[in-house]
Amino acid sequence: MIDLVSFIPRAVVQGIPLLYGCTGEILTEKSGNLNLGIPGVMYVGAISGVIGSFFYEQSCGGNINGFFAIAIPMLCCLIGSLLMGLLYCFLTVTLRANQNVTGLAMTTFGVGFGNFFGGSLIKLSGSEVPSIALSATSSCFSKSLPFAGKLGAFGKLFLSYGFLAYLAIVIALVCSYVMKKTRVGLHLRAVGESPNTADAAGINVIRYKYVSTCLGCMIAGLGGLYYVMDYACGVWSNDAFGDRGWLAIALVIFTIWRPNVGIFSSILFGGLYILYLYIPTGMDHMELKEIYKMIPYVVTLIVLILTSMRNKRENQPPESLGLGYFREER
């Protein structure tokens, strides 16, 4: 029997980066942009935060101020991922480039950018430390409520996480609310479904695409930041983030483009990601853990197939997903 009290918190911390990426990508896809650059954006978000906090920690010796220790990396992360978002929008919306190609190029660039600076930051800055270990900053990020530990299983299950974990859930809920209940959300959905109709109704299609894609990238970037600052305790190691960016894109399909569903599904995916640690395979069958890791993708593929088979309109990808919009081509 799996020890749920220890399993669920681990699934949650695995799930939070996915939730950020998924929420960001849902926001982006709702505007009709299929941003395959999300894995790259998450790397850039993470490394931007690392760079910011690295220099902050270097400049003030051991005495860091809690507010700046959080604000500086977060700001750097948001700026870094915003720039990636702007780049994607400039190429696909303004210059009408192919979204798939642009996204893949961004992933190549972003992952390279992250690994390069992760590996070369110390040499480039000429500092003396042996490796990037931002433990001071990390402790600010991962600080949980002081009384969480005293509340036993309840505290462990619900209160043991750093603030970014709660922020992810809040952002997902807010996105969900905005999309469903507000005029901005309604217009955003219209832009992704039928840019021509939205345009005819007087909605500024280009602005909606820019804003939602850039916001989406910033949210996804936070996922990278959470990973390195909270989950990885401030230690950057190359390629450690792995394929979580792609898993986030898979999660978008799995949730059928609903950020609130994303909260539970990301934790579920996070659980599947570490399930192998809890299912006793014995030393003879270590290979099975690789099969468990396959489950999220298989399940996503099945969801994708089922939704296309059932052909229910609400569950389809936004109709103009992946297509550029050029008013004069209508």
Partner: protein, 507 residues
């Protein structure tokens, strides 16, 4: 009169490239009045109204709204002036509800309850029947249209333009629409209905204005006129085009269509129990208002359209072959050489991005057992067509998308007749063509007829149909309105048949 005019359009001219869509048109639309805008296809009705709703910008002329000159540069401007247009192609987002669609693009906080209440209010006032919470994709065409009209009213439009609203409706739905239109009129709104159905004009409008070939012909009070006079104004006097017409030589039945019934994907009946025979060595003209089933008829014969019921039989000297239920490839494999010049030349008949040779190859690439496609014959064919039909092109390696409309059509027709067909289907073969290209096409079609081909010619210009066809089949709302003899047909009579079954005034 001044205070009554909601809209005054003065000397409006609009050109698209070399085509003049509207030329110095003057039009007045009054409050509390339903104006029917009447005209054949391509007479510039929709273009004129699109300028009022901000989709196009006029090249010349002025527009006055309630006596004040205005510039309408975008649909938004039009909305702000209280002008709303319901297009033939609905502008709705399928996955959203009616209420969400209606409030789309509005400002302020989203309050669907309030929107729903206001929609209910509008519905009660004018007698609409719409469920605000129903998704668009669950709706019938008529419901979608209602949503469009409510959307326009919701935005406070006082001037409503309906572009052929009845084309997609059943008679019962049309009656319902007319009922609400009358209610809106009572409310003091100015309403324009674009149509070419005579009995509808008589049933609903107070005044009728006629356009012909982009020009304003005149207007009159509906009660002072009759269908015959309106048809006269719409089609004009018979113009002699001097198209050659030889007497058919030894016509024999070639294509026999019986009880053909076709429904569109939305379940609307497009062809209703259509029966006729097309003979060899004869041109059978198909007349009808656009969207009356011409496209479905040709596609059903060509193996591109599923039918609910009926049969299409190809009769050769030896045997009869059923064509319905087969795809174009099977039809060809059975030895039926059927050529089809579709309406959508670059979207269906040709590939715009491919050059002339590759477009010739579309029909012949399967020839031979070789793994490779033979481009030698198509290349020669392309060269022959360019030379014989005087296609203006930099060369046969030019993508056809770069050719002018007339030259594109010469390429398409040239390819289709090159296979020595026994049946030739053409849809709007001269649409958008200049005079010379059009005559080239007529000649080509006549040559085919002389060779004994059964030609089915779907046209929109009645003058052409009257001079080219040996017999004319008139479609009206998917039904056969009648078949008349080409050389003796009367233009007004055909015009009446297009708008009313049998051409009798029964409205």
């Amino acid at each position: 009169m001044e205070s009554k005019a909601a809209v005054t359009m003065k000397n409006i001219t609009k050109t698209f490239g070399s085509v003049v869509a509207n030329e110095k048109v003057n039009l007045e639309i009054n409050k509390g009045e339903i104006l029917a805008l009447l005209g054949e296809n391509g007479s510039g009705k929709t273009t004129l109204m699109n300028m009022l709703s901000g989709i196009y910008f006029p090249d010349e002329g002025q527009i006055f709204i309630n006596g004040k000159e205005e510039v309408i540069a975008s649909p938004k401007d039009a909305y702000e002036l209280g002008i709303g247009m319901v297009h033939q192609h609905f502008k709705l987002v399928d996955v959203l509800t009616a209420a969400e669609n209606i409030t789309l693009g509005q400002q302020g906080k989203l309050n669907l309850k309030e929107t729903t209440a206001k929609i209910k209010e509008i519905c009660d006032k004018y007698g609409f029947d719409v469920d605000p919470n129903k998704k668009i994709y669950d709706m019938s065409v008529s419901e979608k249209q209602t949503v469009e009209i409510v959307k326009v009213l919701y935005r406070g439009a006082n001037i409503l333009i309906l572009d052929e609203p009845t084309a997609v409706l059943t008679p019962q739905e049309t009656e319902k629409l007319f009922h609400v239109m009358r209610n809106m009129k009572e409310d003091g709104k100015a309403i324009v209905i674009i149509t070419h159905k005579m009995h509808e004009v008589e049933a609903i409008s107070d005044r009728v204005a006629v356009l012909r070939k982009g020009q304003y012909i005149g207007d009159m009070m509906t009660k002072d006129t009759n269908a015959a006079e309106m048809t006269n104004m719409m089609v004009g006097r018979t113009v002699s085009l001097n198209i050659k017409r030889e007497k058919p030589v030894d016509p024999k039945p070639r294509i026999k269509v019986e009880h053909l019934t076709v429904k569109s994907e939305e379940g609307i009946v497009k062809l209703d129990d259509v029966s006729f025979t097309a003979n060899s060595g004869e041109i059978l003209g198909i007349a009808g208002i656009s969207g009356c089933g011409q496209k479905e008829l040709l596609e059903a014969i060509a193996g591109l359209q599923k039918a609910e019921n009926g049969s299409v039989t190809f009769i050769s000297d030896e045997k009869a072959t059923e064509l319905l239920g087969m795809d174009p490839r099977k039809i060809a494999d059975m030895g039926v050489t059927l050529s089809f010049v579709p309406e959508d030349r670059l979207g269906m008949g040709l590939v715009g991005n491919m050059d002339l040779t590759n477009n010739m190859l579309l029909r012949s690439f399967r020839k031979g057992k070789s793994f490779f496609a033979d481009r030698k014959a198509p290349k020669e064919l392309a060269e022959t067509i360019v030379e014989d039909l005087e296609v203006v092109t930099p060369g046969i390696t030019t993508p056809v998308r770069r050719l002018s409309g007339g030259n594109v059509q010469k390429v398409l027709v040239g390819r289709e007749i090159s296979s020595a067909p026994t049946v030739l289907l053409t849809a709007y073969a001269v649409r958008g063509l200049d005079i010379n290209s059009a005559y080239t096409i007529y000649d080509l079609i006549n040559q085919q007829k002389e060779k004994g081909v059964a030609v089915i010619f779907v046209g929109e210009d009645l003058d052409v149909l009257l001079e080219l066809s040996d017999r004319i089949l008139v479609l009206c709302g998917g039904k056969v309105s009648g078949i008349v003899d080409g050389p003796t047909a009367d233009k007004n009579q055909v015009g009446m048949m297009m708008t009313q079954i049998g051409g009798q005034n029964n409205g």
